[in-house]
């Protein structure tokens, strides 16, 4: 906005306040929100309150007599139980590895897909397919037809590379269980990252890129100085959403390795599942759940500060 300097007195600053919203108007605005809000509160908060309630009880389905109050005993167990701690650490490891690698791959593939080439649409279709495949199906297909030591496709494809070293018929789900599960997680979520980053690339203004090219900037420098900063909110969003979904991965763990060998691939969701299904320990699982929730809130608050821009919600309003 151009500022015109004149010799005249500057006009007194007039505060432009937004049109005051009457009480009736306020309620009219709230009304459409209420059904969804009430619905979500009932369906998500009631189970949480009940979980909280049971976390202070000793409640085993296998023992008759129902639930007995036992104070913070369940919580003490949670914090002293090494199984919980190792499941927690493993969850963080699996999620972080999968998210970071999926995003790196996502950026790389998005860059490839950003150029025009013959059959670009087909390639994009091929790449988004893993995201569409039912995770249970993906887990079972990877576990059997792909990774089986006796007849798996992967071993067949890697034969020429392994035989010189005397390595063949690798039992991926025994010797490299964690890696195998993480690979499947990455396989399924890279398309998600790719699509988000691709949208970011395609929304990049062309004039700045052209100016850089005219100035003689190389491809890598252009990427580092112009493209990457532009992509930052997209990458942050991908990491945030991807983490939310990847930390809850259950299908791959349950169907590929059943948490094993031993507990090698047990993440938090699977650990909780075992507590309920194998130990019938509702009270213990509830306490574990509450601790998980608190940890998630802490991480989310931390993430919010880091990714503040993602939550710089654009304000609406007419």
């Amino acid at each position: 906005m151009a500022v015109v300097e004149t010799g005249a007195q500057p006009t007194p600053k007039v505060e432009v306040r937004p049109r005051a919203v009457s009480r009736r108007e306020q309620w009219q605005r709230r009304l459409p929100l209420l059904p969804a809000l009430i619905y979500v509160v009932i369906v998500t908060q009631i189970p949480f309150v009940v979980t909280l309630w049971y976390s202070f009880q000793s409640y085993f389905w296998s023992t008759p007599g129902g639930a007995h109050f036992n104070g913070v005993s369940n919580y003490k167990t949670v914090f002293t139980n090494p199984a919980f701690r190792s499941a927690l650490v493993r969850s963080v490891l699996m999620t972080a590895t999968a998210v970071i690698l999926a995003m790196i791959l996502g950026v790389a593939i998005a860059l490839l897909l950003d150029r025009k080439f013959l059959g670009r649409g087909v390639v994009r279709t091929l790449i988004i397919t893993p995201f569409l495949v039912m995770p249970a199906a993906a887990a079972l297909v990877w576990a059997g037809p792909m990774l089986d030591p006796s007849f798996g496709l992967l071993n067949y494809l890697l034969e020429p590379f392994g035989v010189p070293f005397g390595v063949h018929h690798v039992a991926w789900l025994s010797t490299h269980a964690l890696g195998s599960v993480i690979v499947v997680m990455i396989w399924q979520w890279t398309p998600f990252m790719t699509l988000i980053v691709l949208a970011g690339l395609q929304s990049q203004p062309s004039d700045t890129l052209e100016a850089a090219k005219v100035d003689g900037a190389g491809a890598f420098a252009t990427f580092r100085e112009l493209t990457l900063p532009h992509l930052r909110p997209y990458i942050e969003l991908g990491i945030l959403l991807g983490s939310i979904y990847l930390v809850n991965v259950f299908d791959a763990v349950r169907l590929m390795t059943n948490g094993g060998p031993g507990t090698a691939t047990t993440n938090l969701p699977f650990y909780l599942y075992q507590q309920v299904n194998n130990a019938f320990d509702v009270g213990g699982a509830a306490a574990t759940g509450v601790v998980t929730v608190i940890l998630t809130i802490i991480v989310a608050t931390f993430a919010l500060r880091m990714f503040a821009r993602v939550f710089q919600f654009e304000e609406g309003g007419v």
Partner: protein
């Protein structure tokens, strides 16, 4: 952040560049071909497991667990026939749960998104954050109590339970996406409608809905994907009366005996609906996942 002009070839050459002989396309071709080949390799690599699943689904069991793996064999539909004969109720339950929850998500989500975007409520930021926060808390944490609650309200092993839970599962993302699509509606149009004397209802149906309907399609698409594929809640809260396709898939893995071809056929049938829908509505899906989520 609004999407600016799509990057493409500029209308005219930027000032200062000398005209070089030959169309730009051909001059850059060797480099182009290299990247194109790489893109194809990556695409095929990602698709390979799906391709192998499809291929194996047409094998007789005897040809499915061989070494080396067979690429040439006489295809048969016998495994598919077995799958189709067993999947009836599972398919029905999946369709009902998916369609039902998606409809409910739209019915609840559109007004909510409207209330958080066009004429925002006073604490719209808090509202939006509350919805998103429900997704941050792992559902696994509450599965025990969920089971007990479902037991007490007699909703265990009921398709209604799945519809209710899937709706709650998808609402936060749906509201976020629909809201960002609504923010794209030009304010001038809304002003014009208001000046014409349009009330809230007419504003929504006459102005907003027509413009955001592609966004609604992509939102519905994503809800369908997540609801159809959902396993954890289904496996813990249903037995027979509401068992869905993911559970049918698991049941195709027997305790003993050959099963790889049968599994591949079941996996194919279970995944194909969502894969086809995703392929056909690809553009919508891309738009929804990326643009709809950035606002």
């Amino acid at each position: 952040m609004t999407a600016t002009a799509l990057r493409g070839d500029p209308a005219g050459r930027p000032p200062g560049t000398a005209l070089r002989p030959g169309p730009r396309r051909f001059r850059e071709m060797p480099g182009q071909v290299g990247w194109a080949v790489l893109a194809w390799v990556v695409g095929l690599a990602f698709f390979l497991p799906v391709l192998w699943m499809l291929l194996t689904a047409f094998k007789p069991e005897s040809a499915a667990e061989t070494w080396p793996p067979k690429f040439v064999f006489s295809p048969t539909l016998s495994e598919f026939r077995l799958v189709f004969s067993g999947m009836g109720p599972f398919l029905t339950h999946s369709v009902i749960a998916t369609v039902g929850s998606t409809i409910l998500v739209l019915v609840l989500g559109v007004p909510a998104a409207y209330a958080l975007s066009v004429h925002p409520v006073k604490h719209w930021r808090d509202g939006l954050f509350f919805f998103i926060s429900t997704k941050m808390l792992p559902i696994v944490a509450a599965i025990g109590p969920l089971y007990v609650i479902a037991l007490h309200v007699h909703l265990l092993d009921s398709i209604w339970l799945l519809i209710i839970l899937y709706t709650a599962m998808n609402l936060p993302l749906a509201i976020w996406m629909i809201r960002s699509f609504m923010l794209e509606v030009p304010k001038e149009l809304l002003e014009a409608a208001r000046l014409d004397g349009a009330g809230r209802i007419r504003e929504i149906t006459g102005v907003i809905l027509p413009i955001v309907s592609p966004g609604l399609v992509s939102t519905a698409l994503i809800c369908v994907i997540f609801a159809w594929n959902e396993l954890f809640l289904a496996i813990n809260l249903t037995v027979t009366n509401a068992a869905t396709m993911p559970m049918f898939l698991i049941s195709s893995v027997p305790q003993e005996g050959l099963y790889i071809a049968h599994l591949s056929a079941a996996a194919t049938v279970a995944s194909v609906p969502v894969i086809l829908v995703g392929w056909i509505a690809q553009r919508s899906l891309v738009r929804g996942l990326s643009m709809g989520a950035i606002k």
